[in-house]
Amino acid sequence: GALVYQYPRRTICKSGTSMRMECQAVGFQATSVAWYRQSPQKTFELIALSTVNSAIKYEQNFTQEKFPISHPNLSFSSMTVLNAYLEDRGLYLCGARDWGGAETLYFGSGTRLTVL
């Protein structure tokens, strides 16, 4: 079956430092990867959408300078949160999709970021 492994599951970093999270797709081709942030109230914010061989599209209020994303192949994507501050706290989720297959967005378990 299709799975997405996301790691680390949780991370604590000092204010002003950076952290990187990674997603690995297994059992399908991750043609596109969407990175979301989920608030404690469970609201989803789309950060950016990455499609292999295309430019990464960032949503309003999110920038490449703050959330650089790498999507080098059909099974891997990573995102870094640079200079993390309190407002960056939350659960970061990657959702991967195979545009040649099902319409399902397969999610990893998320990376919970705590900023001290």
Binding site: V4, K42, F44
Partner: protein, 111 residues
Amino acid sequence: SQWGEENLQALSIQEGEDVTMNCSYKTYTTVVHWYRQDSGRGPALIILIRSNEREKRSGRLRATLDTSSQSSSLSITAAQCEDTAVYFCATDQEGADRLTFGKGTQLIIQP
């Protein structure tokens, strides 16, 4: 209803009861996805209904879609404790490449 300015909604029912969760969306969509999210996990797709379908069933789940009112519902028959989760609807516009999620419904099944 999951969209608009409402916060995460909460529903608490007894085991064995039926429950329906509603979702209204603002822009045209070709597909409505329903996801569940268990504590500490990412969302997982449980049922998907397309714009040319009015109803879709999968086991104890039943999804409906009314494109004229831009609303969808998810019903669970004979709820079980393991159905406890947060349920989200998400829309997927044709030609777009992203899912937009509703604010979710926290469903608690009491034994």
